[in-house]
């Protein structure tokens, strides 16, 4: 695997749209070719070379390419978005859409990310070693297809509207979340190690939510059904199982109604 290293040399004045910073865009390119890829601040068209010192060269394909980014990326959007393979490591906080529409590969952010990250993620591994903003792993506006695959892990806290319209994959949040977790969820698995601030699993149709901490206000459409022993993300514990939002439609499979499940650690 070849490594390309990007080091921020000029900070953007506005926010920089880095839709070309991903393994697929870099694949098969040398440093000087990568430097010529477009980067955008509003209507001003510049290149990655205007903002980054670029060393190394990419592999022939995305899968053979690793990108390491150093320097302050707080005002950079779309890093690692739509990547299908390979690896991206960002040693900074990032702005919006980091890892969104990701289909494969590995993305690690050693810092915080802003809102709309991991949006409609379909595959791969995305690890945020900091806090995440709002709409993590959610669907794009209007879409009923949110995160559908892959593994998304946040070491810190996440914001509001996390995993809205999630249909598959696995999300682990080691800290706390703000209001609305797993709203409209229709599949997949959420593991919350910390606490939730209201409205967990509202309008949930299918899928599983595991909560290790507390939920300060429980949704009225949840009904405790039994106690279960489970091993969740490496932790064995006793959980109370709730049936999903009973106000929502639930599909039938083989004559049986399918409910969503919420497990609260006891």
């Amino acid at each position: 695997m070849n490594t390309v290293t990007l080091t921020v040399k000029n900070a953007p004045e506005l926010f920089l749209e880095c839709e070309n910073v991903n393994t697929d865009a870099f694949a098969g390119k040398k440093a000087d070719q990568i430097a010529k890829l477009g980067a955008f601040q509003g209507k001003e068209i510049t290149t990655l070379g205007d903002y980054f010192t670029i060393t190394g060269e990419a592999g022939a394909t995305a899968a053979d390419t690793k990108i390491v980014i150093n320097g302050d990326c707080t005002k950079m959007k779309y890093i690692g978005a739509k990547m299908t393979a390979g690896e991206v490591v960002v040693n900074s906080a990032c702005d919006m859409y980091t890892g969104s529409w990701m289909k494969g590969g590995k993305l690690v952010v050693n810092g915080d990310v802003h809102s709309f990250c991991g949006l409609a993620m379909a595959g791969g591994e995305f690890t945020i070693n900091g806090n995440a903003g709002n709409y993590l792993g959610a669907a794009y506006r209007g879409d009923w297809r949110g995160m559908s695959g892959g593994v998304l892990r946040v070491k810190g806290n996440a914001g509001s509207d996390v995993a809205t319209f999630m249909t598959g994959g696995e999300m682990i949040i080691e800290g706390n979340v703000d209001i609305h977790l797993g709203t409209h969820m229709e599949g997949g698995k959420i593991i919350l190690k910390g606490n939730a601030n209201r409205r967990v699993g509202g309008q949930l149709v299918k899928g599983e939510i595991y909560v290790f901490g507390s939920i300060n206000v429980m949704m009225p459409g949840y009904k405790p059904v039994r106690d279960v022993e489970l091993e969740v993300d490496g932790t064995k514990a006793k959980f109370t199982e709730y049936l999903g939002d009973l106000g929502e439609r639930h599909p039938k499979r083989k004559g049986e109604t399918v409910y969503g499940h919420l497990y609260m650690k006891q």
Partner: protein, 135 residues
């Protein structure tokens, strides 16, 4: 009686605010309609203010001087209301939860008596915040 009470703030339209707005943002009607805080009688008692006393309302983003009044549209104790306008917006948190909508309703404020503090005009309250007010 307490020096300072914490209330849950909502900012809403009122018909007086609407009339005042159409009369002009610098009109007396607008000033009268918007430079007030509606509080429940119990909260006013708790704070020890009479009707029409100026108070200082402080949120996480700033403070504003308005006049405490009892409302025609009943509130529950603990809930307070300032009509929509530059005075209310002096204390509205701009955080949007990534929805575009700031926290116009449902944010905590501290209310304390400020009987002698003057209420600024609509333009001044904005200019003051933006550092454009020339004294």
């Amino acid at each position: 009686m307490e020096k300072k009470i914490t209330l849950n703030m909502i900012t809403c339209r009122t018909i007086q605010q609407g009339v005042g707005m159409e009369a002009g943002k610098t009109s007396q009607k607008y000033f009268d309609a918007c430079t007030i805080i509606h509080m429940h009688a119990d909260d006013m008692k708790k704070l020890g203010v009479w009707k029409n006393t100026n108070v200082k309302v402080t949120s996480s983003v700033g403070s504003v001087i308005v006049k405490a009044v009892e409302t025609r549209e009943d509130l529950v104790p603990g809930l307070a209301h300032i009509p929509m306008g530059p005075w209310a917006n002096r204390i509205v948190p701009a955080y949007t939860y990534s929805t575009g909508e700031p926290c116009f309703k449902g944010f905590p404020v501290d209310v304390e008596v400020a009987a002698n503090a003057p209420i600024m005009s609509s333009i001044d309250v904005l200019k003051d915040a933006c550092g454009l007010l020339r004294k």
